[in-house]
Symmetry: C2
Subunit: 444 residues, 2 copies
Amino acid sequence: MMSTSDSLILHMMSEMNIPKNNCPRIIIIGGGFAGISLAKKLSKKEVQVVLIDKNNYHTFQPLLYQVSTGGLEPDSIAYPIRKVLKDYPNFYFRLANVEQIVADKKKLITNIGVIEYDYLVLATGSETNFFGNKEIEKNGMVMKSIPESLNLRSLILENFEQALLTDDLHQRDALMNFVIVGGGPTGVELAGALAEIKKGILPKDYPDLDTRRAQINLIQSGDRILKEMSKKASEKAEEFLEDLGVQIWKNTRVKSYDGKFVRTATELSFEAATLVWAAGVKGAAIKGLDADDILTKGSRIRVNEFNQVLGHDTIFAIGDIAEMASEAYPFGHPMMAQPAMQQGRNLGDNLVLLLAKKPLKPFKYKDKGSMATVGRNKAVVDLENFKFQGVFAWFVWMFVHLFFLIGFRNRMVVFVNWVYNYIRFDREARLIIRPYKRDYSNFK
Amino acid sequence: MMSTSDSLILHMMSEMNIPKNNCPRIIIIGGGFAGISLAKKLSKKEVQVVLIDKNNYHTFQPLLYQVSTGGLEPDSIAYPIRKVLKDYPNFYFRLANVEQIVADKKKLITNIGVIEYDYLVLATGSETNFFGNKEIEKNGMVMKSIPESLNLRSLILENFEQALLTDDLHQRDALMNFVIVGGGPTGVELAGALAEIKKGILPKDYPDLDTRRAQINLIQSGDRILKEMSKKASEKAEEFLEDLGVQIWKNTRVKSYDGKFVRTATELSFEAATLVWAAGVKGAAIKGLDADDILTKGSRIRVNEFNQVLGHDTIFAIGDIAEMASEAYPFGHPMMAQPAMQQGRNLGDNLVLLLAKKPLKPFKYKDKGSMATVGRNKAVVDLENFKFQGVFAWFVWMFVHLFFLIGFRNRMVVFVNWVYNYIRFDREARLIIRPYKRDYSNFK
């Protein structure tokens, strides 16, 4: 409920510069898979749509790890949101941060002004969950956005440049030690890509370093990696990673990282200049819609089968931020592209039904399977009736990712890069465009 | 002339971690066109080569303006220097800033340690010349490196996002006003690209702005643009630009820019959120080799016909930083890729001759012509006996630029982008990956 200060803020801030017309105004916060799918569905309907995002582009998150490891340029996995919307009449895009939702006034407070909605859709996605560990948040690297992925790319390369500067082999080893926390798809794919860099690129790029000493440690709290996939997929992925020289630590929980020493609950210790935290995400909630009865433990917003936020008839949540508990998915759907896109499309239909005062269509998730890649010719795919691993799985993985990328140009550029990288065992985007400038004073 | 403090610094700093062997050590500072051409020439010679650059990549500078205008991704015009050197025995690369040359000790002071050379080659290129105007340096944008070009890309896009936020048409116009200072190839190519964005992209991306009001002003101090090229080329380029809607101001010298008002010596005033300074470059000189008798007015280093620095037998300079005065080129060669590459190759031969105590080969510049592009199907080319403009010139321009790009992957990716952009009248890299975060408080 609104406090006096909220009321004051609303009063003082200027209105966002968007004309109101006769159509109901639907505001979508977030241009990820969920938000874009919804926008497309609404493109020709009798509604005004305002899409707000903090970036002017859509990010194809599944390939961020390839940006980090120099396999792809960032621009080829990003797509201008304005271009998606360009042929839609009555669509507005605003580059803005939404700071607060004032539900009882049906208004949003953003950094560029206040705006009123008739219907609000949260498609804000997820953010890294450090589970309250401030030290890891400060010293660890993450990979949830393009700038973060580019920071990691720079750091990986800077570590090797730094390793050249010391005579102390012990420090060199620490600089070339990569600890990845989290055995989900992100951790697994990053570990595999780093292992391939170690094998194919480092010996040529750094002839004056013994890069065989570089280590990739993948730490998983549970008893298997890729725990959302089949047992067979987990086993095969572990085998692939071990073949590539990745050390996997299962049933191991990371406790702390001070920028040099990674310590685990099981009293293990790794001396490493890099810790990548891929061990958890949580919903990217927004102030004003973050009461305890609305948010789940993972900061997701509880929604009913129509993606409606409980207690708010005109507010919806879709994608990672939404938790729709059901018998099959008691903790909501997996935080991945597929449920997000399907919810976006379903909500598009439902908003039209709602405006026509017709009964809504409950969301039904169609699980199309899941997949992860470990490296060259090495991937695992779980479909409903068919689970397979290896070369064919790898081609399927590539085809599916190319297919879901937005934009013909992006597909072409990614394809060219992949063919080149495959033939040449190479990754040419090993560029430190913006140095990460880590403090290396403890590694000398 | 080493001072006591230099001596102290040398004594205190650690040596760079590169083993000395029996071969003479040649240090090349800079991995641009000149440095890379020289390195390639020395690849199989009996020398140790240490290449130092402040980036781990070579930049293909002629295409920076396409990065700024969203036509190309930065990674496709950069190439990892380590990859260039990977098959060369006895080559070392170091990512470092050279802070000082201590010629009488034959040493370099860098941010990662001190290193001794037998021969030193400066290939440091050029940097933006503000001619002492601190205000323009602070408020203007430049385009000499990839990060700078990406900053400009972000700013261009942020300006339009900002224009949406104001109701004041006067401020909107100022936000959509681009002033480019300098009618050389950089200014001309940027102006043309912006004009094409205005025509092809802005109306679709910003339907709620009257983007016809966007202005591109190109300001040139002399009486024609592209003054290094033929009269015909200048005339045609002006015609092309005017067709595209660029306003050209000749015989006009910019005096000041306070972040809002551009003022000229002729009492003109432009209200603009963006000023791009492309009006001059100077040699990127290094402390210790910057005495008045060594540097020219444009901060270039005076060299003899063997690219030897006057008074320093073992120090050479090539490319933009070198000024080799001759009858045909009393102020040195043009600061462009061609002379840089040719000097690099010639010096490669000369260093081998020098070590064999044979007479050196004087440098002879073979002018292969020059060219600039204004936009789609619009370019100007001056060859020695053949000057032409228009569609064919544009194809020649593209072919030549693709040819000189380093790396097959880069060529392919650039080619894909160009074909796509040509067919679709589009530029999809209109992404604000790292916001420039300009202060817009004066534009509200």
